[in-house]
């Protein structure tokens, strides 16, 4: 049993998916919060495997984990209170500035003038972009989870190609847990997705992508492709008259195909190899 739990696939795909389904179903009474709680539970399962419970010293990876949990809390409050303050693009940018400065500020300060400015603006824009566009589909559980499944898998596999299995596993767990949440949404036939799911997914995947560029070997151009996934999830035409299972399949396959293209590009840039 111990040996099986050591497999990254079990830690980052199977267990997060199961945790998302079980915890999400168990939290059904919490209404709109249950999908977000399911996704976060799946993510935390992987965190326990790859990081444990230690938060000190506060590395960039641990700061991202803390911010992901904080984003889920903010998203839950926004969902419960229906606050509109979170919805403006400027607010997503402001939150991204604060999060990015905390996670990557020290690394940015080691760069010189223009390089520091370009990297800083890029990090903020990418995280703000993901959180904003994921938030736009927060009340459409199929589009939201299709986006987070594909963005999680794409970001995670790109991170592995970029030489970071740690960030790869963390991102993939978000994709797998989102898959569990999508399954739950299809089985429950209820729309319970909200900012509690999309905000932490955007913050986590945005910061994981940027940190992999900063501290591993992922070219920043890969993020440009990954950033198109939430747009594809939002604008992919599907017929409401079709079954929800078919809609989910169309949305997931199309966004995963985009993630696959981006991954192929990352693989090409890495000269067709990763190391293990």
């Amino acid at each position: 049993m111990t040996n099986i739990l050591n497999f990254p696939e079990i830690q980052s795909v199977v267990l997060p998916l199961l945790a998302a389904v079980l915890i999400g179903a168990g939290a059904e009474r919490l209404g709109r919060l249950n999908h977000g709680i399911g996704m976060l539970a799946g993510f935390i399962v992987t965190v326990l495997f790859v990081n444990g419970v230690e938060l000190l010293p506060l590395t960039a990876a641990r700061k991202i984990i803390v911010l992901g949990i904080a984003a889920a809390i903010i998203g839950a409050i926004a969902d419960q209170r229906g606050t509109r303050w979170l919805r403006r693009p400027l607010h997503f940018v402001t939150l991204s500035v604060l999060a990015s400065a905390w996670v990557l500020g020290a690394a940015l300060l080691r760069k010189s003038g223009l390089a520091m400015l370009a990297a800083g603006v890029g990090i903020v824009l990418y995280t703000a972009w993901l959180t904003y566009w994921l938030d736009r589909v927060r009340h459409d559980e199929l589009r939201a989870t299709a986006a987070t499944v594909s963005l999680g898998m794409g970001t995670g596999l790109a991170a592995i190609v970029g030489s970071s299995a740690l960030f790869g596993q963390l991102a993939i767990s978000i994709g797998a847990a989102s898959g569990g949440v999508m399954l739950l949404a299809l089985l429950q036939k209820q729309n319970k997705t909200g900012s509690v799911l999309t905000l932490p997914a955007g913050v986590l995947l945005g910061l994981i992508g940027c940190t992999t560029v900063a501290f591993a070997e992922l070219p920043w151009t890969v993020l440009v492709g990954l950033g198109l996934i939430p747009l594809a999830a939002q604008f992919m035409p599907t017929s409401q008259r079709r079954s929800r299972w078919l809609q989910a399949t169309v949305l997931t396959v199309s966004t995963l195909a985009l993630a696959g293209l981006v991954l192929g590009y990352a693989w090409y840039l890495a000269n067709g190899s990763s190391y293990s």
Binding site: G52, A60, G162, S163, F215, Y275
Partner: protein, 187 residues
Amino acid sequence: MRKLILAAAVLALPTPAVFADNYTIDPEHTFPHFMISHVGFSTMHGRFDKSSGKLTLDVAKKTGSVEITIDATSIDTAHAKRDQHLKSPDFFNAGEFPNITFKSTKVTFTGDKVTALDGDLTIMKTTKPVTLAVTSMKCDVNPFNKKFACGFDANAKIKRSDFGINYGLPAIGDDVALMFEIEAIKD
């Protein structure tokens, strides 16, 4: 006048280190190496190509200090992809923590020779006490550059998990053998 000449002559003679001497690490002859089990199949070797630091030694008083800073981005295992992975957040996280440091807290002498260096090893903001066993030491004039230098060979064993480097455990070994070749030139 005779006394003055005599005093100058005495001062010009080579003398043993009566006072604490300061040395600067010679980066061309200072390399921290490491060995680690690769999934139990074999023992992988690697080294850091860049390091810097200072030594002080007072052989008469049997005291001294050592401070070495290792550039974590200079890791070299003769395999570019593996080096990228070792520099990534999975292992040394060199982008976020570019320096590894060792600062001695106690220098142990046996006779005129340093035989152990106790100190604090810091990797990725985590500091742990480590004892380096010094297996050889020589202080003398280098016949090639005519500079006075001190050199050491030292080694220690650590557990990488103590420093938060947990990726691949337990398949990739937890025990890491460290070996230092250190040369420092007198200031």
